[in-house]
């Protein structure tokens, strides 16, 4: 599993059967120092997360096990909020300790 910052939301009504009601959110994976790691991607949001939240998520086919219907083509799923993440002596969940999406340039490439 990895850490990530939720950076956006997606609407896709035409989707594979069984994925009804599953929210889709864009996330930016973060590394152990709270910096962006790799490209942003879209994950199934199984809990009520939203843009700005620090979350932990899972990729691979195990992600489908976090969805209401488990036999679905899903390869990334947010599993929960991170309230505290003490890593190398820093709490990544504390304000300012982990990357956040720049307010003004929301569409600035990462």
């Amino acid at each position: 599993m990895y850490l990530a910052r939720v950076i956006g939301r997606m609407v896709a009504t035409q989707r594979y059967p069984g994925l009804e009601g599953v929210a889709l959110q864009l996330i930016q994976p973060l590394d152990e120092s709270g910096a962006p790691m790799g490209d942003a991607l879209v994950a199934a949001a199984t809990v009520s997360t939203g843009p700005g939240d620090l979350v932990h998520w899972v990729d691979g086919r195990e992600a489908a096990l976090a969805c209401p219907e488990t036999y679905v083509p899903v390869d990334a799923a947010i599993l929960g909020f991170v309230e505290q993440a003490d890593v190398l002596g820093r709490d990544l969940a504390a304000p300012g300790n982990a990357w956040e999406q720049p307010r003004s340039a929301a569409t600035e490439p990462h």
Partner: protein, 97 residues
Amino acid sequence: MLIGKVVGSVVATRKDEKLSNLKLLVVQVHGHDNKPKDQYVVAVDSVQAGVDDMVLFATGSSARQTTQTDARPVDAVIMAVVDSWDLGGANVYEKWA
């Protein structure tokens, strides 16, 4: 899942028989900022996507978790057609714009 735009389709009559009657579409990967990347995949369509549709596709073993691609040599499946998405509240893509 990754975002992509369907830019073409693949017709292959002589192929692994396990791939028979699967619709193969060529998808150009797009970044979350909707900039096209120099990266393409051939994905099985499971939601009646067409050329020029912005789609979401799953890769790896998850791609086999559909009725059509179960136990078949497939590692990319289109599982949604994208209507819109935003980043921190700012709209980035709108299908009907």
